[in-house]
């Protein structure tokens, strides 16, 4: 294992209880520190499951997850939550928390179970909101926001957590072009600050736009992994998605479309 891996998994197997097919099968992979990694694959290929195993909420049946070179068991729950943040896909917020109250929950890893957030936490939460450009919505109830705003608020909450590694599950799902652009800016700014980011997506163009490295998945297995542009050839993508895919070059950048 190289010391530069923020997260690495080795020989990972995972099955959901009651399902015959393993969701993840013999996975080995390294997520380099400070880089953006895309987990790319068709629907049902195990991307979200892999993210949940990386987060630690699912325990693999076999194989090991190393966090900064150390077995996960060496860290307490609280230490792990200071290291890894999550931006889930389409989170359902059942109560009318204000945007600020919701973002403040990101401070939980720094508070004991009986502690309430203080002024410092409030300052950090407000700063996180400003980073995603939603400071003006701080008193608005979260369920009243648009899908795009909600996604940005979830990112702000993860930022308030100040994690070294950020996991994003289908971060651009439900976002219009302008919000996608905004999200990419935020992710690039985080990359510039050397925050390790791992996101799942079924859209190869998002991987091209954002990811230094891409991991190609299909049916719970890793097909291939490497630097994004070199990895995403028409043959590999066609085989991954079971459909004819063409890779165009426009202004020196890859553009992937159906043939």
């Amino acid at each position: 294992m190289s010391a530069a891996a923020a997260l690495s998994v080795d020989g990972l197997h995972f099955s959901y209880s009651g399902s015959k097919e393993p969701a993840l099968c013999d996975l080995s992979l390294e997520i380099p520190v400070g880089q953006v990694t895309a987990i790319l694959g068709p629907n049902g290929s195990g991307k979200t499951t892999l993210l949940r195993v990386l987060l630690g909420v699912l325990r693999p049946a076999r194989g090991q997850v190393l966090l900064a070179g150390q077995p996960r068991e060496n860290y307490s729950r609280r230490q792990q939550s200071r290291l890894i943040g999550l931006v889930p896909q389409g989170e359902h917020v059942p109560f009318d928390y204000s945007v600020l109250e919701y973002v403040l929950l990101g401070r939980a890893p720094y508070l004991s179970p009986l502690e309430m957030p203080g002024e410092t936490d409030r300052g950090i939460a407000l700063q996180a909101l400003d980073t995603v450009g939603l400071g003006h919505l701080r008193e608005r109830p979260v369920p009243n926001l648009s899908a795009g705003e909600r996604q940005l608020v979830a990112i702000a909450r993860a930022l308030a957590q100040d994690p070294a590694i950020l996991l994003l599950d289908e971060p651009t799902a439900h976002l219009d072009l302008s919000n996608q652009g905004h999200l990419l800016e935020i992710m690039r700014a985080l990359a510039a600050k050397k925050v390790t980011q791992v996101f799942s997506t079924h859209d190869p163009n998002l991987a091209v736009a954002m990811a230094d490295r891409t991991v190609l998945m299909r049916k719970g297995r890793i097909l291939d992994a490497g630097p994004t542009e070199a990895l995403l050839t028409a043959e590999r993508l066609s085989a991954t998605y079971d459909t004819a895919v063409h890779v165009y070059r426009v202004d020196g950048r890859c553009l992937i479309a159906l043939r």
């Binding site: 059942p94 179970p113 109830p141 369920p143």
Partner: protein, 357 residues
Amino acid sequence: MRIEKSDDGAGPAPGCDAHAAHASHGFEDALHRHPDAVLILTLVVVLLVSIFLGRYPAPYFLSPARLMHDELAQRLVLTLRLPRIVAACMLGMALAACGSVLQMIFRNPLVDPGFLGVSQGAAFGAALSIIYLGGTPLTLEASAALFAYLGLALSYALARRIRFGGWILRLVLSGIIVSALFSSGVGVLKYMADPLTQLPDIVFWTMGGLWSVGWDDVLYLLPVVLGGLILVYLMRWRLNLLSLDDDTSFSLGAAPGRERALLLLAAVGAAAAVVSVAGIVGWIGLLIPHVARRLRGANAQASLPACMLLGAIFALVCDDLARSLRPGEVPLGILTSLLGALLFLAMMLRGSIRVQR
């Protein structure tokens, strides 16, 4: 000041209106500026009024002067009214806090403490004791408490064995199943009961009430209710975290399964204890958390203390009515259901109850 005087001068009627409007505006204003202080003050006032309210020596009001030198009145207040007042406060606080905790943990604003087999379990235990154990207060309470906790434990154990769905869905399902089993059990017991002596007892117990409460009941309730409520109060900010979905709360450092189980045990434990003494008292656990959220917002850091205070005020007012409206006792459960349902309806029509999805 001068404006008020000129209003008064213009005629008594508009002057009165202005004063009334001013006073009500002042109360709402104070409620929004210092909500907790206003709620505490309201509770204290209701507590004081409750001491002097009742059917002795004459309907409705016992004058403080009479209390000073009427020995019977003093004994009545000390041994009957005071424990009942304390029990009503604990009942309201426990049911309201439990409702709030359940609603947040199950991420469902339409859940109440009767949910996990607790109420039906208690009713079954009470009916069992009335028919087979003579129904003395001690055996009745013990049996109701035992089956209330058994209902909770069964729901929990069953939820762990169901093989599909997330654990919240499983708990909800198993709670429904266990409640249904116990309520059919109550049906069987009612059918077997002596229609002249036992059946009315069972029916009256399931209507809920605090008429039999004495200091010994208060002492039995105190540790369970206080212990549960203190834990819930201390972990109230954490409750927000646990109301998010599992992956998110896990990513924020919570152990969702363990922490939810702990809070459930504390809150439902307190509710089961009061139900074992008071019988089934509905609607407090459903309605009061909504009122508290309306007043203080969704954040449990502010809304949970308000919820406890409001629960105590509501239960105390209902119990005051229960024991002083008529010469006989009006079952508390009927009053809380009536007032609770009406209030809930009014809030729904005003759009104050928000349910996502």
